[in-house]
């Protein structure tokens, strides 16, 4: 594998095998080769069941692969232990889920604060800097006015925006977004996509997201399509 400084994340021949209830092996990923370039919005599209989420989980260290190699910024997952992977997730990655998954007992500010506290570089920041950073990202996602609201008091779109703020507060290199617009209507979905573009421009973050909504495709820089566990040329 050639190391290319423009490529943030790259995977080669990724295979993922699940054992089905009947005891048979089922390959959700059948040898995927993928490169995620820096500072781009990468969209993974495909029907449900095509392996998008499995691929995202593998790329984000949430799940192990059965075969193949993945490297993040030149470091191979196969050489990392769990703690190192956790560290990677804490500091270099951000997550946005379809299910939104804010902590229900924390308000917008606290949800973002919590992610920041998890980040190892927090020690270098003063309390004031932290506060400013949290407010900044919340403003960035357009939630600056509602920082003391609990998730239960927000709409789905608002919640997702807080989740995005949470994902980028630590200045990660890469944000994984699995169907971030899945629970939202098209209009709100487009707003979220615009937000992603803004983040890439203002924060220099790379974003990998999955979707099956054709309306959103054109907003991506790189688009991969998946089918039956394989990437197909587009």
């Amino acid at each position: 594998m050639i190391h290319n400084s423009d490529i943030l994340l790259s995977g080669r021949n990724i295979k993922k095998c699940f054992r089905t209830g009947a005891g048979e092996d089922f390959y959700a990923l059948r040898g995927v080769d993928i490169d995620i370039p820096r500072g781009k919005l990468v969209i993974l599209k495909g029907r449900s069941g095509s392996g998008k989420t499995t691929l995202i989980n593998a790329l984000s260290t949430l799940d192990r692969v059965t075969e193949g190699e993945i490297s993040f910024d030149g470091e191979f997952y196969s050489q990392m232990n769990d703690a190192k992977k956790e560290q990677l997730r804490r500091n270099e990655m951000g997550f946005v889920f379809q299910s939104i998954a804010l902590v229900p007992i924390m308000n917008a500010y606290e949800n973002v604060d919590f992610a920041l506290r998890l980040c190892d570089s927090i020690g270098k920041m003063s309390d004031k800097e932290k506060d400013e950073r949290i407010r900044h990202v919340l403003e960035l996602v357009g939630m600056g006015e509602r920082i003391h609201h609990l998730p239960g008091q927000m709409s789905g779109g608002e919640q997702q925006r807080v989740a995005i703020a949470r994902a980028c507060v630590t200045k990660p290199k890469l944000i994984f977004a699995d169907e971030p617009t899945g629970a939202l209507d098209t209009e709100t979905g487009i707003k979220v996509m615009k937000l992603f573009r803004e983040l890439i421009e203002k924060e220099g973050i790379t974003i990998v997201m999955t979707t099956h909504d054709p309306n959103l495709m054109e907003l991506g820089d790189v688009i991969y399509e998946m089918e039956d566990g394989e990437l197909i040329e587009r």
């Binding site: 007992i105 506290r117 998890l118 239960g152």
Partner: protein, 933 residues
């Protein structure tokens, strides 16, 4: 519908099982109530009868008919009288109750016949008696048995040893009865041919024991008939005692027995009942026992209901989605409630079966307790299944069903839109918003103040055997609940404060747990209240039971004065003054007891002479009912037991020393000193009881050397039928009493050696040929005290409530945590995805545990301790109402708290292990999926 319900049960198997457990406990606690009540009451009745036997040496349940018939010659025969007796006995058998009669004793007598002996003795009055069927119940110890063979017109009679002694009769002598003559003017002559005794001590035939027949001489039936037909007798009396089997008189038929007796007495005023007092005492106490049981069970009932409500709330909560779905599909509200009702009904039926069995076991095991959490020392034969248990169980199940259906009712009123918007709103609990805890705490403290002010009237009521206001007990429960809630509120404030202080610095795990605790307070609060109440009630109950038990034990110990007290049988020589017989006693050798101390049976043995009802005079005042106690100072000090803090600040040994220094000195009780107005150094005179014999001789002059508040064996207040009587004490040297007042059998006090039991000691005495009288041991007195129904109820109920509370708390705790983890699985997935390690998640949960559970446990201990301090004295007054030289001490048994904490710790550890397992097995990606539904 049914399929829907079974499907629902299957889906939520765990919560359903918890619900069954909750319902079963509810049924168990309720259904064991009638069994426990019935058993306690049966035991109370039994003890009443047995105590009567012990105190009076008489069979307790007897109907008697006493009749004197004017004599008409030739008309009255023994058979005529026996017919009358049969008629009397038939009345009972005709009452149709399942109370067997054990037989009757009929004594026909010609009373107070003067008799002069052929040996020249005169001036005695004898009752010539015939006892029906006596031949089969006696043993002739000397001479011949009864017969009707006349020898020169002289008929034989026999007598007991007591009458022989008391009446100064001599075997073989013929006695003439000058007042009883035949038509020819011949006087009746009877000859003493034999001496009898009862053939067995336990023969129920002998209602009136041979020793209690004070002047009866016995002839046989033919002779009695002959006397009645041939001689002129002015009156014939007969008395018949019908003995009813007291074991057949139980709580469930006692009312009928009372009614039957009243009927019989109403028909024939000559009939008397020996058990009227006992039964009416019992009936008046019965309602208070029943109430006491409810009051003591109340907190645990409340907890069980809260538990059911909590679990069914959880169940409904987890099914709110489905409820909303049902509604959107057009189900009516009543239909949804019906589904829950049918489910509750099915569970209740299972719970009734389980619960009644558990109730039975709970009842038997708590009936066997002799102390808090100490099982197995008590006889449980009085406790048995009663059909009422089913009734109570079904009643409890109905209440349980209501508690299950109510949350469903509430939930079914909400539409899916409302549900979604309500989902994450954190509402404050009702009590928190309304400051109910503070209000109730104030109320309970005011009531406590009031009850303490009126403690004397509570005391008086308890002494008179009236039922005590249940509010006295309920108040302590109210205090525990309200104070527990207040502590919880304060804990919450404290957690918030701690969070706030370090807000900027908290590590993520700490940060998340703090927010979790403070924000989900109402859910967590419920289980925390549960924990606090369980621990607090546990500690309060344990301390309360200990306080009552220990104080009772200490009072017994104080009243006895040493481990074993008995008297030895002394030989006596009778002498007569006027018409009464008196005895002069011969003291047996006391030195032989040194063998017991030498052989390691006893540490020390002392002679203690107690003469009750002496009187004390000074020039100014006179006091009677003074107990005169004679001791040998050194013996006494080493044998008797007295708590050191009594008579503070002087150790009572100093007083004993004063006595040994001054042979004519006396230690007197402080109430006597006050009454007489004497001080140390004053003189006074003690007069013996039998003043009528040798009036002026029986007195002695003493000088006060010490005034004491408490003394081994001195009971300042005694009670009879609710009346208080004050007693006084004078302690002097034994030798001075013997010299000046009286020599009579003294008590022997024993301090047993370590590990020697009272029974072993008695065996050794028997081995030495000593037959002790009135043998009492502290050990068996304490054991008897523990079987008193009142104490039994306290120990049994407190233990039972504690165990049930503990079980519920444990199960509730596990359900709460497991379901709270299950609900938060998605969240943990998010945490893990965001890079939190498993150990951090564990740490977070541990933090939550520490803050909520540990705080709850510590709060519980604190609440328990405070309520013990405030309330256990009040409670002890109800059980120990009598004024006593010993004040009520409050006992904290540290071991109880430790035991409790161990149980709680084990519970938390199990819970943590389960949680860890769940978290470990949790797949992050799987967890994230969960939230996508």
């Amino acid at each position: 519908m049914f399929r829907l319900v079974t499907q629902k049960i299957k889906n939520k198997l765990w919560l359903t099982i918890c619900l069954i457990i909750g319902l079963s406990f509810l049924v168990a606690v309720c259904s064991c109530q009638p069994m426990f009540k019935n058993g306690s009451l049966n035991r109370m009745l039994m003890l009443k009868f047995e105590n009567f036997i012990e105190d009076n040496n008489l069979y307790p349940t007897v109907l008697s008919r006493d009749k004197t018939i004017k004599y008409e010659k030739g008309k009255i025969s023994i058979d005529y009288i026996l017919d009358k007796v049969d008629e009397f006995c038939g009345k009972w058998d005709g009452s149709g109750l399942n109370v067997d009669s054990l037989g009757n004793q009929t004594i026909v007598s010609i009373k107070n016949a003067t008799a002069s002996g052929s040996d020249g003795t005169k001036g005695r009055y004898l009752d010539i008696s015939y006892i029906d069927d006596v031949e089969n119940h006696i043993e002739i110890v000397k001479g011949d048995k009864l017969s009707d063979e006349a020898e020169d017109g002289v008929y034989p009679f026999i007598t007991s040893e007591k009458v022989l002694d008391d009446m100064n009769l001599v075997p073989g002598v013929t006695y003439e009865f000058p007042t009883i003559m035949d038509d020819n003017g011949n006087t009746l002559k009877l000859k003493l041919v034999g001496i009898y005794k009862a053939n067995s001590d336990s023969d129920v035939f002998w209602y009136v024991q041979p020793n209690a027949l004070e002047s009866n001489i016995l002839v046989n039936k033919t002779v009695m008939d002959k006397i009645m037909s041939d001689y002129n007798v002015s009156e014939i009396s007969y008395v018949s005692y019908l003995m009813l089997d007291y074991r057949d008189i139980k709580n469930n038929n006692v009312d009928k027995v009372i009614a039957a007796i009243n009927n019989i007495i109403a028909e024939d005023s000559g009939i008397k009942s020996s058990m009227e007092q006992m039964l009416s005492d019992y009936v008046s106490k019965r309602s208070s026992v029943s109430m006491m049981l409810w009051v003591l069970e109340l907190p645990v009932l409340g907890m069980v209901l809260a538990f059911i409500y909590m679990v069914s709330g959880q169940l409904v909560e987890s099914e709110k989605n489905e409820i909303a779905m049902f509604k959107s599909r057009g189900f009516k509200r009543t239909q949804i409630v019906m589904i829950y009702f049918v489910q509750a009904l099915i569970l209740s039926i299972i719970a009734i079966v389980l619960g009644i069995s558990v109730g039975y076991i709970l009842c038997i095991s708590s009936a066997s307790t002799t102390d808090f959490l100490t099982f197995g020392g008590n006889d449980t034969s009085c406790y048995s299944f009663t059909p009422q248990m089913i009734l109570y169980g079904v009643g409890a199940a109905i209440v349980g069903i209501m508690f299950i259906v109510v949350p469903a009712c509430l939930a079914s009123g909400i539409s899916i839109v409302e549900y979604m918007s309500l989902k994450n709103v954190n509402k404050k609990m009702f009590w928190e918003k309304s400051f109910l805890d503070v209000i109730l705490l104030g109320l309970s403290l005011y009531m406590m103040y009031y009850f303490n002010q009126t403690a004397d009237s509570i005391r008086q009521k308890a002494i008179e055997g009236q039922s005590v206001d249940p509010l006295v007990f309920l108040d302590s429960i109210l205090f525990i609940v309200s104070f527990g809630l207040l502590v919880l509120r304060l804990t919450q404030y404290l957690v918030k404060l701690v969070y706030h202080i370090g807000r900027k610095k908290w590590k993520p795990a700490m940060y998340a747990s703090f927010l979790q605790i403070t924000r989900s307070f109402n859910k967590q609060g419920f289980i925390a209240v549960f924990m606090i109440l369980t621990v607090a009630l546990g500690i309060y109950n344990a301390n309360g039971a200990r306080t009552i038990n220990r104080n009772k034990e200490e009072r017994l110990q104080y009243e006895m004065g040493s481990d074993v007290v008995f008297k030895e049988t002394w030989d006596k020589i009778p002498f007569r003054v006027g018409f009464t017989t008196h005895y002069s006693y011969i003291e047996p050798d006391f030195a032989k007891y040194s063998e017991l101390t030498n052989q390691g049976y006893a540490k020390n043995i002392a002679q203690v002479q107690k003469i009750e009802d002496t009187s004390v005079k000074t020039s100014k005042a006179k006091i009677s009912n003074v107990m005169l106690m004679g001791i040998n100072p050194k013996q006494f000090a080493t044998t008797a037991d007295l708590k050191e803090e009594l008579n503070y600040p002087t150790h009572w040994y100093n007083y004993v020393n004063e006595l040994s220094k001054q042979p004519e000195g006396a230690v007197i009780s402080s109430n006597l000193a006050n009454a007489l107005g004497v001080e140390i150094g004053s003189s006074f005179t003690v007069y013996g009881k039998n003043k009528d014999i040798v009036d002026e001789d029986q007195h002695a002059e003493y000088k006060v050397v010490a005034i004491v508040d408490a003394w081994p064996g001195f009971v300042q207040y005694s009670y009879e039928d609710g009346e208080e009587k004050e007693n006084y004490l004078v302690v002097t040297n034994l030798s001075s009493i013997v010299k000046a007042i009286e020599r009579k059998p003294y008590e022997i006090w024993v301090r047993l050696d370590d590990g020697v039991s009272g029974a072993e000691f008695k065996e050794k005495l028997n081995e030495m040929g000593i037959q002790p009288e009135q043998y009492e041991t502290l050990e068996s007195n304490i054991h008897n005290m523990k079987t008193e129904p009142e104490i039994q109820i306290v120990n049994g109920m407190f233990t039972m409530c504690f165990l049930v509370a503990l079980a519920l708390c444990g199960i509730g705790f596990l359900i709460y945590w497991i379901s709270s983890i299950r609900q938060r699985e998605l969240l943990f997935g998010v945490y893990r995805a965001m890079g939190m390690s498993v150990s951090q998640v564990n740490k977070m949960l541990l933090n939550e545990h520490v803050f909520s559970t540990l705080f709850a446990v510590i709060s519980g201990v604190m609440v328990g301790a405070v309520s013990t301090l405030l309330f256990s004295k009040l409670m002890a007054i109800v059980y120990l109402p009598q004024k006593h030289n010993l004040d009520i001490y409050i006992y904290f048994e540290a071991m109880d708290s430790v035991k409790l904490l161990i149980v709680v710790t084990v519970m938390i550890v199990i819970c943590l292990i389960v949680l860890r397992k769940i978290i470990k097995s949790m797949n992050i990606t799987q967890a994230l999926k969960l939230g996508e539904d």
